[in-house]
Amino acid sequence: MNKVNFVERADIGLGDAPLQKNLSIFRNFSPLARAKTLARMDNVEQLRAWTKDRKNFSLDNLADLLEQFESEVTKIGGQVHWAEATGDLNQIVIDICQQQQAKKIVKGKSMVSEEAQLTHALIDAGFDTLETDLGEYIIQLAEEPPSHIIGPAIHKTFEQVVELFERHHPLGERDLPDAKAVMFEARQLLREKFLEADIGITGANYLIAESGTVGLVTNEGNGDLCSSLPKTHIVVTSIDKIVPDFDTAMAVQRLLVPSATAQDITCYTSFYTGPKRTDDADGPENFHVVLLDNKRSDILQSKYKDILRCIRCSACLNHCPIYTRTGGHAYGDVYPGPMGSVWTPLLNGLENNHDLPNACTTCNRCAEVCPMEIPLPDMLRDLRRDEQQAGLQPKRWTLGMKISMWLFRRPTLFRWTTKLTARFLKHRAMNTNAVKHLPVNNGWMEVRDFPAPEGDTFFERLKKQRK
């Protein structure tokens, strides 16, 4: 597994001018748009509380609901497959494709498939596999990982997309003046692929146990083309998407869409309940749902259980002052931003990702906007605690912290320390009002000055005044 150095990757993002331009537009637009949409909804807080309760209920009854879901899917002629690890998921999908003697696969956007690197696995196994979500299609051409869980290509500028299309599409000289032209070109090319495909793969936003229904929201309609045109539809998703009933699914959806894209509703909301029935005009002949665990059962038993309520809306990314400056690739895996800083260490090991829980100022903006009220900053703090206990925090920082905390319980000694600190910094500032250099190299002084203290401490001055 890759050892993620978040700080180094963040530096690349910070130095990437086109990315910074995109992120700055995104940062200024996205939170306002979400707030505006939620403001015209009634009783959002009640909806949030109710949905959170229902998601907790789903998690508390996870095994039963999953069994119910499987039994319903089986009843209507579909098949549910269980994948413990990402490799198992890929093998199950490859096996289905081989049984179908498939050659061509079209795929909708699915973060679980990104988690499993399914597209790479299918291509390696010899299948012609094409991403059909426009953002996923762009990053497939660019051979890059997604940088956002909803907008996988938000790091790409318009000019970069045009350049990719001109390089990869054998269409000769043509004009691509605007986003509409680019989109139209992609649509023309992708339509043929949908018609040729043997297999369609999609993700899922929720799984409804009572009816064995898979719910999916998209804005491009590619999900429906993937699910209904090819002979076989494979849904790849994870066990935490289960909800007991349609009401819960709708509550999730009502919160998901404004939180994700500031829309009231997405252009397409699709429900897949089994394969084509005899009277149906269209639909797949074969219907498979592959459910990934990948440590989620372990997380359910841990203090990080709350993260399983995550509905992948991206509100925490969009509001994170760090994500919106580094971009998603800095996080080194498919889930970036605050939710990713919790998920990635849990999925891939804290020792490989110990920077991520520290990529947080505890500003709490993510927790405030999370529709599922996941206490992300508290969980990141808990992960830092795990780091402390596993000795993964830099020794220098831990030592400094321990000494400070020891001093805070020794007021007399502490008074001397503050006095010396104030004197020292005042002296270093000389006749100016800020310290420009310190003998030790540290991150604070690298990018800003240290404002000079007044020189005496509060407690010194108080004592003097009382004399």
């Binding site: 700080v7 963040a10 910070l14 940062r27 200024n28 939170p31 002052p321 760090i322 400056r325 580094t326 520290n358 947080c360 100022t361 505890t362 500003c363 709490n364 903006r365 927790a367 405030e368 703090r381 992960l383 830092r384 605690r385 795990d386 780091e387 920082w397 831990t398 912290m401 321990k402 905390m405 001093l407 805070f408 319980r409 007021p411 502490f414 503050t418 104030a422 006749n431 100016t432 009002n433 800020a434 420009k436 991150g443 604070w444 690298e446 990018v447 800003r448 000055d449 240290f450 404002p451 000079a452 203290p453 007044e454 401490t457 509060f458 407690f459 010194e460 001055r461 108080l462 005044q465």
Partner: protein, 272 residues
């Protein structure tokens, strides 16, 4: 003058234990004295418990809950006997109000004390505005400065402090705030974050400084020394003319100290 180490309430005045905060103590004593003045003017009996140090966030945020709990146990008894604990900081008040009870949840005796203290813990401007509902003694103190305001994350999201300082500035000083773009966004301080990930912190504080300058304001006010040291430090490095002050200094009319991190030549603010 405020008491040191005394807890007696006199003449039915509300007794306030002032939690000075370690940053004010070390870097900006003027804020502590401005806080005392504001509280005394509002009719409080102010006491400053001598044994107070820091709220413990430097250990709590990196995840050392044991040592944070020990610091909490050091702080709690110092303030339990007052009617209120008031701090000129949303961050420290938030720590005591919300995180002390969490830290001590497994020790019933301490948990009860932490809960009791939590209920009477307030940040300075919200205490003046929401609890005391102060009326200014004299209005119309106007300076030639234009002001913008930085909402600290802890104040804003842990304690719902947004209108209180603005309303006080209006009634005390007749000051209207020129609002920052993305005013609810973090300035990039985040305790040790700013030193652990300086480049990201730099991008954040640079944006905050640019947003402040774009308002046309000459002074940025805020209620938390961590943010203010960060923003002032960046302003100094950039040789910006923006001045930075704690809101308590302006509310109390105590502007003798030069603005935080400001070049000494441009610190005099004529008060009309």
């Amino acid at each position: 003058m405020a008491n040191i180490g005394m807890t007696t309430s006199q003449m039915n005045k509300p007794s306030v234990g002032l939690f000075v905060t370690c940053l004010v103590d070390t870097f900006r004593p003027s804020v502590g004295f401005a806080s005392i003045k504001l509280l005394e003017d509002a009719g409080c009996q102010v006491t400053i418990p001598e044994q107070q140090t820091c709220c413990g966030q430097p250990g709590y945020n990196p995840g050392d809950y044991e040592s944070a709990a020990k610091v909490a146990k050091h702080t709690i008894p110092l303030f339990l006997d007052f009617d209120y604990l008031v701090a000129p900081s949303g961050s420290c008040a938030g720590m005591i109000k919300h995180h002390y009870p969490k830290l001590l949840k497994d020790e019933p005796e301490w948990y009860d004390k932490a809960k009791k203290l939590s209920e009477k813990t307030f940040e300075l401007t919200s205490f003046l505005h929401d609890v005391l509902q102060v009326k200014p003694k004299s209005t119309g103190t106007v300076s030639s400065e234009t002001y913008t305001f930085h909402d600290s994350c802890a104040g804003l999201r842990e304690l719902n402090i947004k209108d209180q300082p603005r309303s006080l500035l209006k009634s005390f000083n007749n000051i209207e705030i020129e609002e920052l773009q993305n005013t609810d966004e973090c300035c990039g301080f985040g305790g040790t974050f700013c030193a652990k990930m300086p480049h990201i912190s730099d991008a954040m504080v640079t944006d905050k400084l640019l947003a402040a300058e774009a308002t046309g304001a000459t002074t940025l006010l805020g209620g938390d020394m961590g943010c203010l040291l960060n923003i002032a430090g960046k302003a100094s490095r950039q040789e910006s003319n923006l001045k930075v002050r704690h809101v308590a200094e302006v509310l109390a009319g105590q502007l003798d100290a030069p603005a935080i991190g400001c070049a000494l030549t441009s610190t005099k603010e004529p008060i009309k």
